[in-house]
Amino acid sequence: MSVIEFEDVRHRMPNGVVALDSVSLKVGRGEVVAVVGGNGAGKTTLLKHMNGLLKPSSGRVTVFGKETKEESIARLSRRVGLVFQNSDHQIFSESAKEEVMFGLKNFGIPPGEAEEKAGRALEYYGLADLAARPPLTLSGGEKKRLCIAAVMAWEPDVLVLDEPTVGQDYPSRSRLFGVVQGLASSNRTVVIVSHDLEFLWPLSPRTVVMSKGRVVADGPAREVFMRTEMLRDAGLREPQLLQLSRRFGREEPFTAVDQAAAWLTERGRAN
């Protein structure tokens, strides 16, 4: 069953720019979907349709079978949790704990239960020690995880991440990778909007490529990422492991460094 469905969606912005054009897309339960594309491709506009922040100018967006036009943003957000790119656009509380409590309170979860859920989310995302800290004093990576924890605390059915790796250093990226991997293996539905193919490649999720407001490709990463020209036109760069695979004419591309090294060692010996 699909949890989010776009049917021939078009979105015209107030200034007349068409940000989405004939977009059709289904996200199934338990699926991990990457939406990739360059800046200005319409990725964020697409994402804002998933909890009703934006409504289609024509076409339909349905979330769990209900059309977004007929639901409040709050009700939709309860089931589809969005985490935006810039953590500083949402952090406002005096402590990390309160930041997580904010959503829980808004959704009317009883205080006792909310405390418990907030505590669990902080714990899960490795922030338990920082619960009392003012969130503005946290590092970029900690803020990012706090924003994710603040959404995951109310246990939405779907998590949507907008450019989670932008501006993050390597330690933070690798923790984020762990988070996404954990969600994927526990059969959560996750949508990751990103232009960071190096980050996505080892995960190799189903990948939707957007360019100029349209979906130009949709399929398994291993197939989509092989279309080098299309990726380049969409403002993206192919990951190095994939480049390497192509240079050696491999049909099954390397997704991990170890795998590539083992194959090359073998190949070196064979000669």
């Binding site: 360059g38 250093d169 390597y170 760069r237 070196g268 000669n271």
Partner: protein, 280 residues
């Protein structure tokens, strides 16, 4: 040639902080080089960059020891507007460094501040716009530009002052990969054509290590390694200091043989095939 940027046992602690942002840092950059400064967030990279153009200590008070020399001038005793002629600075977010309502007026900003004659400003502005391929944007308003174009405008605003050194603080972190590649190639071209010395901070090492001459890695406020990118990226323990070498480097480190690292896929493949062919 010679040392154009030099840090000598440099320590800086912002007022009100409990520990130094950088401590006992010594390294230098030769004229005409591209130097990449790498390290996890909070390792002191921004402090180093701001110590090159004098924002530290002139704008940020703090406790300081050691010495920073830029093009023969001691930074701590040279006013920032003097350093502005020597050092162009490109910040991460171009939005916050474009002040004026039109592109050309913004590019002129620095020269107006220095009191150049209008005709001279006109000539230099036209030159800088042409150099960055944005002459057609001259009359446009910054709010109509794409992120990549904004970054070019900001770059033009620095280059118009004819600096010897260009300092870039994560210039591509908000850009998509293709636009990021464009900016990096542009910087590389400026380095070659104008002989500009470049000091830059960038997380995406696969993007910048092929064009770098020198790499300085900071960890916990101190210099952890300095050398050519191949030397530095070849070391063990990079992950522990919060760096992820390009995938192609990681692959090479796991291969049995190897003298020196190739920093991009093409270079590696060429070397590998030659190597294998050699042994046949």
């Amino acid at each position: 040639m010679g040392k154009i940027v030099e840090f000598l046992d440099y320590t800086f602690e912002y007022s009100g902080m409990e520990r130094p942002a950088v401590e006992g840092v010594s390294f230098s950059v030769e004229e005409g080089e591209v130097a990449v400064l790498a390290g996890a967030s909070g390792s002191g990279k921004s402090t180093i960059l701001r110590s090159i153009n004098g924002l530290i200590p002139h704008m940020y008070p703090g406790r300081r020891s050691g010495k920073v020399t830029v093009d023969g001038a001691d930074v701590s005793s040279t006013p920032t507007y003097e350093l502005a002629r020597k050092v162009g600075f490109l910040f991460q977010n171009p939005e916050n460094q474009i002040f004026m309502f039109t592109v050309e007026k913004d590019v002129a900003f620095g020269l107006e501040n220095l009191g150049y004659e209008p005709e001279v400003i006109r000539r230099k502005v036209d030159w800088a716009l042409g150099l960055l391929g944005i002459s057609d944007l001259a009359k446009r308003s910054p709010s109509e530009l794409s992120d990549g174009q904004k970054q070019r405008v900001a770059l033009a605003g620095s280059l118009v002052m004819d600096p010897k050194i260009l300092v870039l603080d994560e210039p591509t972190s908000l850009l998509d990969p293709r636009t990021a590649q464009d900016v990096v190639s542009l910087v590389s071209r400026l380095n070659k054509d104008l002989g500009l010395t470049v000091v830059l901070v960038e997380h995406r090492l696969e993007l910048v290590s092929p064009m770098a001459d020198r790499m300085v890695v900071l960890s916990g406020s101190r210099v952890w390694a300095e050398g050519s990118p191949a030397e530095v990226l070849g070391r063990e323990g990079l992950h522990e200091v919060g760096l992820s070498p390009p995938a192609i480097v990681e692959v090479q480190k796991r291969l049995p043989s190897g003298d020196g690292l190739a920093l991009d896929v093409d270079g590696f493949v060429r070397r590998f095939l030659a190597d294998v062919g050699h042994r046949v």
